[in-house]
């Protein structure tokens, strides 16, 4: 089989992984080809609007396991292929020199056994780093069940190492991925967390959950995420709307992936990481997110008694609670208001977007609308009308 056909098969099997992030690595590199960029770079956007930063491929799609939701499962009748390490190097180096990509994201199905698969991944990455002096970004998947010594070896070669949790509860994992269990994932996460430094997985670890393949609620999902962030210092949890690829009585009967739901989860995830929100602030037990309004607005409407907030007065964390105001705007407001009293006009000049914020703030005790418009009905109606009918995708890199 030629390399053209292999690439087609092994990119096709890799495309469901949501991660394409290439940021956060401070790995020093003075020699050889390439470097890692701290802020991450998108090189292209595919027809589905997702960022292409890395050459995202599987080493092989010939899997010994049989996860229900996966295109590569053993019982599927599909074409199988396996790259040689040299082939992967050839594509990576040639793509990188032409500036098509920021680096490589190498994942794999489990061929023969976990350690055998890990060895193939290690060989490939080590060839890239040592023979080809490649210093671009590398994200590798840790294979569940691989020995700690192989994790250690691989971690020293890559920028990011990750293990996918796939589903938010042990019961769901048991149901859909009977060869896996939560423990085998968290064991790897723990090892990565404990060894992380500038020479071992410098860009940190991430993971991914499939959304909508099981009955788990959004509350279960974001709770799981916040646990993972806390226990293993993950950089990112990625959410991947369930794609109906396989037919199985264990899988839901859907034809359209739940993209809006996925989007809401990304927003909530953002709020937990950068805005000081806790899972329990955002949802009640077993609840799902409102698909009409984003999680921050939903929260603000529920806690309207905390508003309107005075821009010239409230502290950083209070500013962050205002819909439409993020860390950049909040910091800017704090700096500028030391120099002058901020009016609505100033906010515009400062580049603070008022579209949502204007309902929830006062500037020097002025409200944007007539004061008696400050009530839930008015605000909710306006905001629902303003919400874009089409979902917006979050940027999938940091």
């Amino acid at each position: 089989m030629d390399v053209q056909e292999k690439l087609q098969i092994l990119a096709d099997s890799a495309k469901y992984d949501a991660s394409c992030s290439s940021s956060g690595s401070k790995r020093a590199s003075k020699k050889g080809l390439g470097n890692a960029s701290i802020s991450g770079i998108c090189h292209s956007y595919s027809n589905d609007g997702r960022c292409i930063s890395l050459l995202k491929i599987l080493l092989t799609n010939a899997c010994i396991y049989d996860c229900e939701y996966c295109i590569n499962r053993r019982s599927n009748n599909i074409k199988r292929a396996t790259f040689t390490p040299e082939e992967i190097c050839y594509i990576t180096i040639n793509f990188y020199k032409r500036n098509y990509i920021e680096g490589l994201f190498l994942s794999s199905a489990v061929i023969k056994n976990p350690d055998y698969t890990m060895d193939l991944i290690i060989n490939t990455v080590s060839l890239l780093r040592n023979k080809y002096n490649f210093n671009g970004y590398i994200h590798a998947k840790a294979i569940l069940g691989a020995s700690p010594s192989s994790i250690k070896k691989l971690g020293q070669l890559v920028d990011r190492l990750s293990a996918n949790i796939e589903l938010p509860s042990e019961a769901s994992i048991k149901l859909l991925a009977p060869d896996k269990n939560e423990k085998s994932v968290t064991k790897i996460m723990k090892q990565i967390k404990e060894n992380k430094n500038k020479n071992f997985v410098p860009a940190g670890q991430s993971t991914q959950m499939i959304i909508g393949a099981t009955n788990d609620s959004d509350y279960d999902i974001i709770n799981k995420s916040s646990q993972l962030y806390q226990n293993y210092s993950l950089k990112r949890v990625f959410y991947s709307a369930y794609m109906p690829i396989n037919q199985s009585p264990l899988l839901p009967m859907v034809t359209i992936p739940p993209l809006k739901r996925e989007h809401r989860l990304y927003q909530a995830d953002w709020l937990m990481r950068f805005y000081g929100f806790k899972a329990k602030d955002l949802l009640e037990k077993d609840d799902n997110f409102n698909l009409l309004l984003d999680p921050k607005i939903t929260w603000a409407l529920k806690n309207l008694s905390e508003f309107p907030k005075e821009i010239n007065k409230v502290n950083y964390y209070e500013l962050l609670k205002i819909p439409g105001i993020g860390p950049t705007s909040a910091k800017r407001i704090i700096k500028c208001r030391k120099k002058f009293k901020i009016t609505f006009l100033d906010l515009k000049k400062m580049g603070v977007v008022l579209k949502r914020a204007k309902y929830f703030i006062t500037c020097d005790n002025q409200y944007y609308f007539k004061r008696d418009n400050f009530n839930k009905n008015f605000i909710e109606k306006k905001l629902i009308l303003e919400e874009k009918p089409q979902y917006e995708q979050m940027r999938l890199f940091e």
């Binding site: 495309k15 956007y45 595919s46 793509f95 020199k97 032409r98 359209i256």
Partner: protein, 254 residues
């Protein structure tokens, strides 16, 4: 009738700084500053020019912090029509506020200046991703770009590190500027030292491009297709120079 005075300078950054230094000394309030090559004389306008003085230009620059200098260079590299006047007022206020200038966003020159500067930084960042090289048969990587702002200088700093052991050339097609890199050094030339239609590609170039296009088309998930979103992130104006979009570009009405 009052005539509008346009101050003109000799098309380089240091000339502009020299002019601004003189204007500050003379306490002028310039209505318009233009580079010689952009200045168009009209019946009711009048222009003024000062002699270039590298000493006072240097003296002025020395009073500005690194961060302020970086910002005004960014503004200078933009394609904004009134960037010179913005730079004038930005510098004038910087002398007064020092680095606090970055918090004085209620001043017009500051919020406009920072907006322009950010726009330049942003475009540079985009081109770190969108620039596409092709390998020529003499082992040189060659790229053509057509950015809105004059970012080739900022962009080259990035590739100087990333492709440090390669030989490469980036051409800004509209401005007819080439950045040539070899062994740690960059050179800027603006003649047609390399004639683009005479370029000969490496024998594997076709195969690699085919591999890339193959990957690009495969990695998209059909059920999630959203070309509108794709287009808003990678606007049409870039397609001509992005190899994986060239087929779409050829078919589209340009």
């Amino acid at each position: 009738m009052n005539r509008v005075v346009t101050y003109i300078y000799d098309d380089t950054f240091i000339d502009l700084i020299s002019l601004i230094a003189k204007l500050i000394i003379n306490k002028a309030r310039p209505y318009s500053i233009q580079s010689k090559k952009n200045y168009v004389a009209t019946l009711f306008s009048e222009y003024k020019e000062y002699e270039f003085d590298p000493k006072i230009a240097k003296k002025l620059l020395n009073k500005l912090s690194h961060k302020i200098k970086k910002t005004i260079i960014n503004i200078y590299l933009s394609n904004n029509k009134s960037k010179e006047v913005v730079i004038y007022y930005f510098i004038k206020n910087s002398l007064k506020y020092k680095d606090d200038i970055f918090q004085m966003r209620n001043l017009k020159c500051v919020h406009e200046g920072l907006k322009i500067s950010k726009n330049v930084t942003r475009e540079t960042h985009k081109f770190k991703g969108f620039t596409r090289f092709k390998l020529l048969n003499n082992d040189v990587l060659y790229a053509e770009i057509s950015p809105t702002n004059d970012i080739i200088f900022l962009l080259s700093k990035h590739f100087k590190v990333r492709l440090r052991n390669e030989k490469w050339v980036i051409k800004d097609v509209e401005r007819n500027i080439y950045c040539i890199y070899e062994k740690g050094k960059t050179y800027y030339v603006n003649d047609n030292v390399l004639e683009a239609n005479k370029l000969e590609f490496d024998e594997n170039e076709n195969q690699i491009e085919k591999l890339w296009k193959n990957f690009f088309n495969t990695i998209s998930i059909k059920e999630r297709e959203n070309k509108k979103h794709q287009m808003s992130l990678m606007p049409k104006k870039h397609w001509k120079y992005i190899v994986e979009m060239e087929d779409v570009y050829e078919k589209s009405d340009k």
